[in-house]
Amino acid sequence: MSDDNSELSARQRDEARAALQRDLPFALSPSGSFPSPEGGPDLLATSDIVVEAQQIAAVARYLRASLNYIYLSNITAVDLLAHGCFELVYHFYRLSGGPALTIKTRLPREKPELPSLTPFWPGAAFQEREAYDLFGIVFKGHPDLRRIYMWDEFEGFPMRKDFVRQGDKYLSE
């Protein structure tokens, strides 16, 4: 079962990559723009499509219009502290079934800004607000970019890896 799916998803990925290469070559991110730390695990290495952060809206619209990935399921922010960047992971689907197409994009920790997908997928609104609240990633063009979980007066972004936490759980860290 899972073999079929992984094959299918690899094929989907390759198709999408080829199409992007053909139509939006500038959007595909040059690999290695962020350094990998020595010794630690390299979390940047991936087989998924990595795109330029500022082009994410263009890529997403292209995927929807040309490749029929009309369903934006999931937006995840990952704080790669050791690499000095945030990674945003988008999962798209076709309504005709099949596994997800994963699109990744990276942006520097110092100035995490990228275009919002909310104008095109209103369903992204809450997910982007969540990423803003917990990671401090700014989505340009989001109509209502406020904190979603924490109160408005709160300062800091608690899901960042360098947010100080205390408690029994963190004793061993």
């Binding site: 079962m1 899972s2 799916n5 630690g40 695990p41 390299d42 979390l43 290495a45 991936t46 009309i70 369903y71 934006l72 399921s73 999931n74 995840t76 990952v78 704080d79 992971v89 999962h91 689907y93 309504l95 005709s96 079934g97 099949g98 596994p99 997800a100 994963t102 095109f120 997928w121 209103p122 369903g123 992204a124 609104a125 809450f126 997910q127 917990l134 904190r147 979603i148 979980y149 924490m150 109160w151 608690p158 899901m159 936490r165 759980k169 963190y170 860290e173």
Partner: protein, 369 residues
């Protein structure tokens, strides 16, 4: 013309009908809503942050508490994610046990959702009592296998904790025997009831196109008329072995959502009957003996999703090669299904807000995480 003032009302965070702690900032004109903004975070329990401080196995009981109505389904999604990440095989018998548990979860969730719909509309708990009676019976079964009523913590990487006890299958047979009568009864209360029709029909219509662009999933998406069920669209586990139908709605209003749920309960019962039939032939034990619970997956990431009773439940895990996930993200169906709430409620009355909210079937544990 009379000029009327707008009235601002906070529904929640403590409000009897908000399905948890949840605030709806509403601007009213008379009793009609002109704007509604949901505010959450009142149950933001830092699942993701704690998940990154826990080892993979330690996260399993935390997934129970995401959508506390459907702990088994959450377990399943998480187990699938870790299994994908670490490349663990699941024996066939374990898969059947999983499917049985998840489908029972679906029945109890939908029964509960319908009960709560009545409650939200002001019935005095009666229908909820009927739903909860069935839920109690299903919880008895869960308790039998896992040891806990709600927080089952039953799934493990590569299988389930323990095999079905001998008294489980007869009890399940009995339950399934009584199930059609219960569903019929619920439907008799629900459909054709004039008050209910007046309260639910053409309320909170979500058109197809909007449902997709709002990333809505689960019964809500299907009620809008899109036959998208992950069990069919991207079959996981052993769902490709069962015959079952996808109920879809035609209008996309509250009424359709609940008819879809009722029909899904029937389909779940079908799956359960098939699973019970095929279970004795299934090979393997209840857990893959080679699977280590203290997993240390290779560096990489995995995203898996299942059709949880509320919609698409996904887990996105990033492993840095240690025993703890580097990133533990939950794609919660209720959270994203809530996005269109403001639009759905505009122009309706306050009383409808409660009904629409009930029809989305949210659980705040999952929305706020």
């Amino acid at each position: 013309m009379l000029s009327t003032d707008e009235l601002q009302i906070n529904i929640g965070p403590q409000h009897p009908s908000t399905h948890g702690v949840f605030r709806l900032l509403t601007r009213l004109e008379g009793e009609t809503i002109i704007e509604l903004t949901p505010v959450f975070g009142y149950l933001h329990r830092n699942h993701e942050q704690l998940g990154e401080a826990n080892s993979y196995l330690q996260n399993m009981p935390f997934t129970d508490r995401l959508d506390y109505f459907n702990s088994m389904a959450n377990n399943h999604a998480y187990a699938l994610a870790v299994e994908k990440l670490a490349g663990i095989e699941v024996p066939e018998r374990a898969e059947y046990i999983r499917v049985i548990m998840v489908e029972l979860t679906r029945i109890l969730n939908h029964a509960g959702a319908i009960g709560f719909l009545f409650n939200d509309m002001g019935a005095w708990q009666t229908q909820l009592a009927f739903s909860m009676r069935e839920r109690e019976k299903i919880l008895d079964l869960f308790e039998m296998v896992s040891g806990a009523r709600m927080m089952c913590n039953y799934f493990r990487f590569g299988g389930v904790v323990r095999d079905l006890p001998p008294e489980f299958l007869p009890a399940l047979q009995d339950l399934l025997e009584a199930m059609p009568a219960f569903i019929d009864e619920l439907e008799r209360l629900l459909s054709e009831n004039e008050i209910l029709l007046a309260r639910t029909q053409n309320i909170g219509i979500l058109p197809k196109e909007l449902a997709i662009s709002y990333s809505v999933t689960g019964p809500m998406l299907r009620a809008s008329g899109i036959p998208y069920d992950i069990r069919k669209a991207e079959p996981y586990s052993i769902y490709d072995r069962f015959d079952f139908d996808i109920p879809i709605g035609s209008v996309g209003d509250v009424y359709d959502r609940f008819l879809v749920r009722i029909e899904e309960m029937r389909q779940s019962r079908r799956i359960l009957l098939q699973a019970l039939e095929q279970l004795p032939d299934a090979t393997g034990s209840h857990i893959n003996p080679k699977a280590r619970q203290n997993v240390r997956p290779p560096v990489g990431d995995a995203y898996t999703r299942i059709e949880s009773p509320k919609g698409e439940l996904g887990f996105y895990l990033v492993s840095d090669g240690s025993t703890k996930p580097y990133r533990y993200k939950i794609r919660a169906p209720s959270f994203i299904n809530l996005t269109p709430l403001g639009d759905l409620c505009r122009g309706h009355k306050i009383a409808d807000v409660v009904v629409i909210l009930g029809s989305i079937d949210i659980v705040l544990g999952e929305v706020d995480r």
